[in-house]
């Protein structure tokens, strides 16, 4: 089926996979043998193909098959450098979680098949109105939890921060750029297009989960030291934002505000597209930095902007885009989502206004925290003095990697400035998925802001970008005109001791205020011990802190322990005495005979 929704997702898949492929040629050259490289490339192509299949297939079974292939191949890619034990563990968690998700999806498909007794999407769509309300809710819940596990929505996000960092960078850029989006595609296709949204409670549920995953994702992104884990957590946050837009459009559809539903769907699709681009870019930069410094711990890096200027520039563009700074594409989609909230609030009734208000403010909070997180990431990795000799003698990465990054960076800028035309196309897609004819609707694409008062100029991205450009030049001219020259000298070190690279602010230090502000959720652990030469002189000072992985500690570990405990308890069924075994047979026989008329 090649309707607009599938074409859009195909576009998203290929726009991220292409640079990743180019990137992978030189990225893998280093530590793998020729055969392994070939295998990795083949797996990559199969992975991209399976994602393309997932998005275009029209039959439930074919969907499940390609879904399975996608999960398995991505598992293989995650554990591709099987040498270190962490990647095997990450792969294990990943494969278990995806299969739990697929189990939910299969359950939902079976119920749908029961009503439609055919596997084809169109047939199911045609009979979807006959499905009774509460079964529809059950199907929705199953589908949502199934796809949410794959998309990394919060309670089920546990695998994402483990799986993505372990995979090679170009693979994790595709995985977090696009693979998560196939789960979103699944949600849109099955819940909106096929099942049809009836009650607003669905949208509200999705929005609640989205807000939680936004906040958790961004707070953990602030706390983590591994560069790729930061990006993985920020993918959770961006998935939250996309789901926020999606939930909003579902709420509007159930309230029959079709104009707003299409608008928020545009915002969500556009953010999905932008996130695929700038997250892919950031992962490629992370890969470049990993290749240059052989480490992923940002506290060991620093000063890379002088050694790797181009990667630094591209990473800066990516960081600006993801923290929604004006001229770039991240800003446009987040700006549109916020506006969707405002317009929604204007039309919605009573408590809905308050709920939308809270969601909008949480979204703004996430935006602020995301900006903080990426300032920290960019600042600590690229700026100031290098903190380890690896970082010291880092060299610029090869041309094909830089070209891939350049391609994606240009895309972020292009998608930012020419947002108006692109949203024009996306509005058709959104209209078709929401099942509404949007020909009558006029979205003020040029201005991208919807106001009550007509006739007043509205700010639009190209106008904003133009103004910023003009004023930067003006500022530069002023800067050039005045002043009496420059002098290069050491950084200010209060005058008496030589400022080393150990005085710089590290990532943990940068996130300290956030750790204290959100300690009710992060439960930070802190240990300090001072070895004192004498009462006054402290010889050495050890400081250790980490945050408690709340979900893992309080939800997943107890569950896993319980499962194994009950399995051990199960072993007592087989104690070895033959009398007991015969007793089992006799008891089953007796039970069956007694209850025979019930069966």
């Amino acid at each position: 089926m090649f309707d607009l929704l599938s074409l859009f997702f195909l576009f998203v898949i290929f726009i991220v996979s292409l640079p990743a492929l180019i990137y992978s040629f030189s990225y893998l050259k280093g530590e793998y043998s020729a055969k392994q490289i070939f295998l990795a490339q083949v797996l990559l192509c199969v992975f991209i193909l399976s994602m393309a299949l997932v998005v275009t297939v029209t039959n439930l079974i074919a969907f499940l098959v390609s879904w399975e292939i996608m999960s398995l191949v991505s598992y293989l890619l995650v554990v591709s450098d099987g040498r270190n034990e962490k990647s095997v563990k990450a792969g294990m968690i990943y494969i278990v979680m995806t299969h739990i998700g697929t189990a939910f999806i299969i359950a939902a498909f079976l119920i749908m098949y029961k009503y439609a007794n055919s596997f084809d999407f169109i047939v199911i769509k045609s009979i979807s109105s006959t499905i009774p309300a509460n079964t529809k809710n059950i199907i929705f819940l199953l589908l949502f939890f199934g796809f949410a596990t794959k998309a990394g929505v919060v309670p089920m996000h546990i695998w994402l921060p483990y799986a993505h960092p372990q995979a090679p960078s170009h693979v994790s850029s595709i995985m977090s750029g696009v693979m998560i989006k196939t789960a979103i595609y699944g949600m849109i296709r099955f819940i909106m297009a096929i099942l049809g949204v009836t009650s607003p409670s669905w949208g509200i549920l999705i929005m609640i989960f989205a807000v939680i995953s936004c906040l958790t994702g961004v707070i953990y992104a602030l706390m983590v030291k591994d560069i790729k884990q930061v990006l993985a957590y920020s993918s959770i946050e961006n998935i939250g934002i996309i789901l926020l837009g999606l939930g909003l459009s579902m709420v509007f559809i159930s309230f029959k505000f079709y104009y707003l539903a299409v608008f928020s769907l545009i915002a969500s699709f556009y953010h999905l597209l932008n996130h695929a681009i700038f997250k892919g870019l950031l992962f490629l930069c992370a890969g470049g930095v990993y290749k240059a410094t052989e480490t992923r711990n940002i506290e060991k890096m620093g000063g890379l902007i002088k050694k790797m200027p181009q990667t630094a520039l591209f990473c800066l563009i990516g960081a600006m885009a993801i923290s929604a700074l004006p001229p770039l594409n991240g800003f446009v989609s987040e700006w549109m989502t916020l506006q969707a909230f405002f317009l929604g609030a204007f039309n919605a009734s009573g408590t809905m206004k308050l709920f939308l208000g809270i969601c909008a403010s949480m979204l703004a909070l996430t935006g602020g925290l995301a900006a903080a997180c990426f300032v920290r990431l960019f600042g600590i990795t690229f700026l100031a003095k290098p903190r380890s000799n690896h970082a010291n003698n880092a060299k610029e990465v090869s041309f094909s990697m830089r070209f891939a990054m350049f391609f994606l960076a240009c895309l972020t800028i292009v998608f930012g400035i020419f947002a108006a035309k692109i949203t024009g196309i996306i509005s058709k897609i959104a209209a078709e998925t929401a099942g509404v004819d949007a020909t009558s609707m006029k979205f003020p694409f040029d201005s991208l802001s919807l106001t009550r008062g007509a006739g007043i100029w509205q700010i639009s991205v190209p106008l904003l970008a133009f103004m910023l450009a003009v004023f930067t030049i003006a500022g530069f001219v002023i800067y050039r005109m005045f002043g009496a020259g420059q002098r290069i000298y050491k950084t200010w070190d209060c005058g008496y001791y030589k400022l080393g690279q150990r005085n710089e602010y590290t990532a943990t230090a940068f996130s300290k205020p956030f750790r204290i502000a959100f300690n009710f959720f992060l439960l930070p652990y802190r240990r300090m011990n001072k070895i004192r030469e004498s009462f006054y002189h402290v010889k050495t000072f050890a400081y250790e802190t980490h945050t408690v992985p709340v979900f893992k500690r309080y939800i997943y570990s107890p569950f896993v322990i319980w499962v194994f405990k009950s399995a051990k308890f199960m072993r007592r069924i087989q104690p070895g005495s033959i009398h007991l075994y015969l007793g089992y047979i006799f008891v089953t026989l007796l039970a069956l005979i007694i209850f025979v008329h019930k069966i």
Binding site: L338, L354, A371, V375, M467, I478, R487, W492
Partner: protein, 282 residues
Amino acid sequence: MLLAFAQTILFIAIAPLLSGLISKIKNNVRMRKGASVFQPYYNLIKLFSKEEVISDTASWIFKITPVVVFASVLAATILISDFLSLNSAGNFLALIFIFALGRFFMTLAALDTGSSFGGMGSSREMFISSLVEPVLCLTVFAYFLNGHALSFCSVISAIALFLVTLAETSRIPVDNQETHLELTMIHEAMLLEYSGKSLGLIELSSHLKQMILFYVIAWIVVPVNFSEFLFLGHIAVIIAIVIAVALVEVALAKMRLFRVTDFLGFAFVLGMLSVVCGMLGA
């Protein structure tokens, strides 16, 4: 178009005057003579003529930050001027994001020089600004819900915005502007490495930013369009805000950094209150 351009020039001119006025009032209240109202202008002129010292570890980001900050603030002034008036949610929101752009580059530049002051300043600045954003968004939300009328809801959102401006423009309860004591300075810590004309540019942009925020509060409270020459109401409100800020600066002492969450939490609750009132049409 021309009017808008004249407005921006006017804003740039008046902005430093406001800070001078605030310090003048503070000194008078403390029974001191204090520097003249035009002291900020003298500072700027002096700075623009001085030589600039740049640290060796700084990269090109350090050099372009003053220009970017200045450009973003100028764009913000255009935004609130008559050319793109504030009564559309899009413009108001864009304002928040433009401030975010300026802050992003400022914090990066602070980290760039590699001194622990810069790191401390940027981390705290980011911490406070991320707590400010939801309140800003809520006030925009309430304003947009309530429409352009003076009502209970718009007054509360103005107060919330006032608290936020105290945080944004690093006034006393959140951050102390004058001090160089590394424990207390947030905004100052980021500018530490700057000197000469780049410092001048950044000082000018922070004055301008302060001016814009005061004007926004005035805009919410006085429901009249700038061009109707009834903006005397705006000037009156701005002067009232200036006096209020000066009094707050004198009366209160700087809060511990982690009390700021409660301070901004209170602002957030005020914002919520204004949304509720807007919702009930109060």
